[in-house]
């Protein structure tokens, strides 16, 4: 089971999913029409480390975070 958290302005509760890689996550999230714009402009972190491709194997207990466009300061 991995936990998926949607940060900042993405108004969506966290998900608990039985998936083993980020390609599976992409397939699941792309079915949610309300997320489509966020998926295009959000960065992804696995266990608080940013990732740049979907070639990431997930382990039980991993945490995935979606980070939408930022504006600090």
């Amino acid at each position: 089971m991995v936990r998926v958290e949607f940060l900042g302005p993405i108004q969506k509760d966290a998900l608990e999913l039985e998936i083993t890689n980020l390609n599976e996550l992409a397939e699941i999230l792309q079915k949610d029409k309300e997320l489509s714009e966020w998926l295009q402009n959000s960065a992804v972190a696995v266990n608080d480390t940013m990732v740049s491709s979907l070639d990431v194997v997930l382990q039980d207990g991993d945490k995935i975070s979606l980070l939408p466009p930022v504006c600090g300061g």
Binding site: D48, P68, C71
Partner: protein, 148 residues
């Protein structure tokens, strides 16, 4: 030093604390940048969400870069609401000579704007409205989207 505060920053106090902490450290330059909420577009203020685990690792990476140039950085940021003419952000560089500090504060604040996991909202008529048009997608965004 990365410090997060609920609400507006006490600018004189923070600048003095940082100055006092490094007064005997033999740095020749102390360059602070203070960000203040301005009145524009009818806002009453701004509000911020922060994702702290990634902010901390982003900050540590910059602290390492600073140290490689003989400098140190300090940063303070607000969580939650900050009203007009209050401050939400202070960044500072201490370095032996001014040139490094002047260049570094620019690089650091630019990357802060583009990469630090902080989300800004306008406070308008009691509503918290995501500042979408002023926000920047973090490098590498979009990998979960269709057509990748």
């Amino acid at each position: 030093m990365l410090s997060l505060y609920d609400g507006a920053l006490d600018v004189p106090k923070i600048l003095k604390e940082w100055y006092d902490a490094e007064a005997q450290s033999n740095y020749g330059a102390y360059i602070p940048f203070v960000g203040t909420v301005r009145s524009e577009d009818g806002i009453d203020g701004l509000s911020f969400d922060i994702y702290e685990p990634i902010l901390e690792s982003w900050y540590e990476a910059w602290q390492k870069k600073a140290q490689e140039r003989g400098a140190i950085i300090k940063m303070a940021h607000s969580r939650g609401d900050v009203m007009l003419h209050e401050s939400s952000y202070i960044a500072a560089v201490f370095s032996p000579k001014r040139r490094v500090a002047l260049e570094f504060i620019d690089e650091f604040v630019e990357d802060f704007k583009a990469s630090a996991p902080i989300w800004k909202y306008d406070l308008i008529d009691g509503q918290r409205v995501y500042a979408k048009d002023r926000s920047t997608a973090i490098k590498g965004s979009g990998i979960l989207g269709a057509n990748q």
